[in-house]
Symmetry: C2
């Protein structure tokens, strides 16, 4: 059944029951995709200041059958926060719900409202002598609600898990306007279906997360960071297993970097550069977080020696200062910026079973070469089997010249990923941009269950219309 | 709508489409609660040998509207595997689906069928030089399907998580007989609702898990185990925080033991006894798992010294051999056996926010003392905020003499737990025995969502009737 537009009468109704400050100017930023890929339908922008106000808004939308687009930091990469077609919606921004409600250092728990910016949550944890490990490029603007709704990942998933793993409990407004008070601070609670896990990653289609209890960790007392040049991705994978043998679960990051990405840093004149000269074909950033009595540098040195003996690595640097550590990380973190300057024809956030990664890279490079004179920059969270596999025009070429190949390239990549039991979306989600991929590659039985759950919880289809389905 | 009985005609229909070896003698063990608390309704016992056969059975039951009771190791403590009223069901045992389908040491993944016994999964991981960390008292008989369906916990949740956290993907037969092929080996996969997390902990009410991909870990190279006498539960909690500071995330177990439990070991003549003399009022078992270069004994010694300085501990032993380590663990593991010999009036598997544990223990002891001359043995996974809070008759007294107080005692305990934001079921689940508690203490909005999901996925109500709802 079609949704109704949030017209003047509807907005007047909202204004009659909600305070003035809930209503925001409809600034274009609320309707823009961060890379300008699509234009959003303009809507009524509201920023409730409390869970009760969120509930009032949702009840009004449910009654009038008006669509709601939940809006966090606006940093999503799959169009989940930008409705590009349909009746004028309510854009519900969490920007005014930014309170850290409580910090329990002894429990390793922090309770944050959904509008808190990720970096502020990290700081609040740090102030309490604790670590909130979720870390990603957009942490200065991404908000808790969006991070949870997209089950965000980042560089520390390997050791600490993704957003879902870091969430102990939720407060949320459901599609009928009822409030679920599920802000538990419990490590174990087997009392019925995992509604927490269901709302996390639901991309706003089953309700609006208004607050969350989040897991904190002891901050590692000592950190060790190294960049090691590896023979090839197969060797990188063997190095990962060796790192597990040598350093156990203290490995908190294991990032693959391709020579193409390191060369992009040179080509685009980025401040950070590869500390190994000449630039290796493949390298790996390894970080260990350990206790006070430990010497992560010594562990990394042992790892390097054993890897050298095994023929896995040829060169490497172990950071000897915080500055060197920063330089190694800067190199990793500036690769996406360099990518943006070069201009990708097509970008893919894929995951694979770990042992399938080397075979995939070889095969995909061959297939992509058959489709045109492309350059491939494959990099990312190898420890999680999560690669950003991005396709670029040849040096000096323009992405626009290859716009008509984009679909073929993407289909080829995803077909290879699917054949090896992988996923077409590792951490970015489905949003509106990958609805076609979900329908094509998704398991039939799972899709049927998803539709049944959506229909059961949001029968009017008001929650983030166009996302997932 | 009422379910139909699995009568002779229905069974004949099954026999016409399934091989002879699927049908088992209806041995009483399939209908017995392990402690004899209730008598199960006899049913047709089937043990399919493949996922296809499970699907055939479920389709037949759906068509005839016949109830299915999934049956794993039969070790559940909340009656999830024993239907105590209703029309003659099909009891679907996973006992013939015991294949470890694959082990991927390099990926830290193992794929097991739902009938695999937990101890066999642990062994298969160990044979591959890896750790499957889920460990609990019934590991010699509990099966993977039941462990996942109840989201089992155990002694290593603190470091490695519960069953849901250890599950990467599932294969399951849904209530309409369709098969979800979700056996992914991915660490990141953001492609729609978390059906894995929903089926884990659904206690067989949304489908039948037939296989799972499970997470493995590097086996810790070195282990350290200590028992430390603590001043009181408040000191135990401070010791837990200190252990995090000293040993980081290498703390894999942190178990609280009360003097009452240690005295029960003496009273019932158990082989294991408390290694600290005299028996302390409260003690804590701490285990660290570390790397090759580490010395967990030295870390435990440092922890003990610092705790002594802070006035948290008064005595302690650090295991100096595998035999001593075994003796400390045996003491912890034999407490539930001693409990059974003493005979509890009422047993409670509760969880609390960590910082609420000491206050709860003080308050609950006072309230229980007001209800009768009871002895309280509170012990368990303090690091998870999960206590087994069990009430016993006075020495020489009989549980039967207090049978009429059971309900008052349980209600008093759960009321105190709820008031402090805790859970009436930390790791055992709801099953059939705690349906009343779920209805009473559950969040209204969450219960409505649960009912909506159950209705959407199992509209005929055939899956484990009487569980949860």
């Amino acid at each position: 059944m079609d949704l109704n537009p949030a017209d003047e009468a509807f907005e007047a109704g909202l204004r009659a029951v909600l305070p003035e400050q809930v209503f925001r100017d409809a600034s274009p930023s609320y309707f823009e995709e961060p890379r300008g890929l699509v234009a959003g339908v303009e809507g009524v922008v509201v920023a409730p200041g409390s869970t009760d106000e969120v509930a009032t808004l949702v009840r009004a939308c449910a009654e009038a059958r008006v669509g709601i687009v939940p809006y966090g930091g606006g940093t999503g990469l799959v169009g989940g926060q930008v409705m590009d077609e349909g009746a004028r919606p309510v854009v519900l921004s969490l920007e005014r719900m930014t309170r850290i409600r409580d910090v329990y250092p002894q429990e390793n728990v922090l309770v944050a409202e959904a509008g808190c910016i990720l970096a502020d949550v990290q700081s609040a944890a740090d102030d309490a002598g604790r670590l909130f490990p979720l870390s990603l490029a957009s942490e200065g603007s991404a908000r808790v609600g969006g991070i949870l709704s997209t089950n965000a990942g980042g560089v520390n998933v390997l050791r600490y898990g993704n957003a879902r793993d870091l969430c102990l409990g939720l407060e949320a407004v459901l599609p009928d306007g009822s409030v679920w008070n599920g802000l538990k601070r419990l490590r174990k609670d087997n009392t019925g279906y995992d509604l927490r896990g269901l709302l996390v990653g639901a991309e706003g289609t089953l309700g609006i997360i208004t607050a969350a209890s989040l897991r904190l960790f002891p901050s590692p007392a000592t950190l060790g960071t190294a960049l090691m040049a590896v023979r090839d991705p197969e060797a990188a994978l063997a190095l990962f297993a060796l790192a597990g043998d040598v350093a156990g679960t203290s490995v908190s990051a294991f990032e693959l970097i391709s020579g193409v990405g390191a060369a992009f840093l040179v080509e685009t004149g980025m401040p950070a550069q590869c500390p190994i000269d000449p630039i290796p074909g493949w390298s790996v950033l390894i970080e260990l977080g350990m206790g006070t009595n430990d010497a992560p540098d010594a562990v990394l040195a042992t790892l390097f020696e054993r890897a050298l003996e095994a023929g896995l690595v040829s060169d490497g640097v172990i950071a000897q200062s915080e500055a060197q550590r920063g330089a190694i990380w800067a190199m990793r973190e500036e690769i996406p910026l360099a990518n943006r300057k070069v201009g990708a024809v097509s970008s893919h956030d894929i995951s694979l079973p770990l042992s399938e990664v080397p075979g995939f890279l070889t095969e995909a490079d061959r297939v992509i070469a058959g489709l045109g004179p492309f350059r491939v920059n494959a990099f990312g969270h190898l420890g999680d089997g999560n690669l950003h596999y991005n396709i670029f025009p040849p040096e000096g070429g323009s992405r626009d010249a290859f716009a008509d190949r984009r679909e073929d390239v993407a289909r080829a990549v995803y077909d290879l990923v699917a054949a090896r039991g992988g996923s077409f979306s590792a951490e970015h989600g489905v949003g509106r941009f990958k609805v076609g991929e979900l329908a094509h590659y998704g398991d039939r039985a799972k899709l049927a269950v998803m539709r049944a759950i959506k229909q059961a919880l949001d029968p009017k289809g008001i929650m983030n219309p166009g996302v997932l389905f």
